[in-house]
Symmetry: C2
Subunit: 271 residues, 2 copies
Amino acid sequence: MHSWVDGHPAESLSIKDRGLAYGDGLFETIAVRAGRPPLLEYHLARLTEGCRRLGIPLDLPLMRTELLAFSAGLGEGVAKLMVTRGEGLRGYAPPPVALPRRILQSSAFPAYPEGNWEQGVQLFPCATRLAEQPLLGGLKHLNRLEQVLARAEWQGGDFAEGLMRDQSGRVIEGVFSNLFMVRGGVLVTAELSRCGVAGVMRAALLDCARAQRIAVEVRDIPFEEFVQADEVFLCNSVFGIWPVRSVTGHHWPVGPLTRKLQAIARDLLDI
Amino acid sequence: MHSWVDGHPAESLSIKDRGLAYGDGLFETIAVRAGRPPLLEYHLARLTEGCRRLGIPLDLPLMRTELLAFSAGLGEGVAKLMVTRGEGLRGYAPPPVALPRRILQSSAFPAYPEGNWEQGVQLFPCATRLAEQPLLGGLKHLNRLEQVLARAEWQGGDFAEGLMRDQSGRVIEGVFSNLFMVRGGVLVTAELSRCGVAGVMRAALLDCARAQRIAVEVRDIPFEEFVQADEVFLCNSVFGIWPVRSVTGHHWPVGPLTRKLQAIARDLLDI
């Protein structure tokens, strides 16, 4: 396992970095197979959009080159990239000329039980609700206390993921994955303009579904509708797709569209 | 200017720290005069409450000893303390046994214009609204992107602070200070259970006002009422109290209760 800061091997960072002080930055969690990040373009597109919205002047061509070099060195595993606004003045004001910092860390693929893909998973019903902040909705930024609190709500292996809802009770996502449901043949995932993280696997699956003329809806999901879905699944760019079996007494079968998209996710991830 | 990590001189931190990865921690900005932090007990009380709510097992007696030693070495200036949950596992789950990290940085007192205390300040009306998250309301945690975005809304010296409202438009606080208004002799400040940072100077002023039998209300403040206040002022534990002169065409005089509390704030800060 190795790590780089601004393109050089390093394991530490200045305590003046605004990533630490304010969570002033973004991150990507990137699967690497055979020395390549299969969803590279999706990761870079999201990062570009995040930097645009936060006003972080990242050198994208350099970032791409660096990610490719880091992935080649890693071979197989997960590359975590953090981009921060760099060091700053005292106080919240972004420095007039920001020098963004690029931090890369590698880890092995997490050892999830095989049953997560085959029989599906149980969701823990998190009491932690997502706050609504349109300025940050959809971004994979470094302010993640809500996820920390939600993930701390359960221990042990009975629940592979947690269900996160917004302050109004709408179904949004998992703690570390996005959520889809199938209703009458239509693939539905939550609209993420007020809260939630717009995952790259979610984006890639939406693109693939549209290309295959599967009906897709990105919209609010009331909990009452969610529990009546025909199929439910989770996705992210590391594990692909896990069918969801149940949450608090509500059960779903592992359905045909989930299985079809699961195969697509495997292709997308070069598995 | 110097800095400590876990009680030892250091200027860097492991990139595995959860403070960087998730903003999983808290901070305090502490004025130091003649080698002592005058509001030490308020800072430690808030930190204790923050650690309790986030489940960070900080060694408080050690923290107190360290803060006192750091302050003695600093003499005059501002000590910024960050407490993080320390290094973690991969993923959001807090480690079963967290080893919290203590980071201390010093800086000089900011050079604010004298007029901020005398004639008062203009508030910039921030378009960035605070999200409502009861689990984090009042905490001085490390997830501060809203403040970064708000502070980036204006440049230059015309506005000393920005006015932050919640998603419903209620008046909450400044970007780096708390806000009070006076209405008919009653001192009013926003209730901070859904958003905002419960500042130590705010807490100390509330205590002093109650002790002096000044009527105090901690409650929601509609914008329509705010603009009709008799007096408005900002406070924090570094600058004490600044009267507020105006925001977007609404003007307030610098009133007698503001001046009285300004003197109390100076006493509290040993100025």
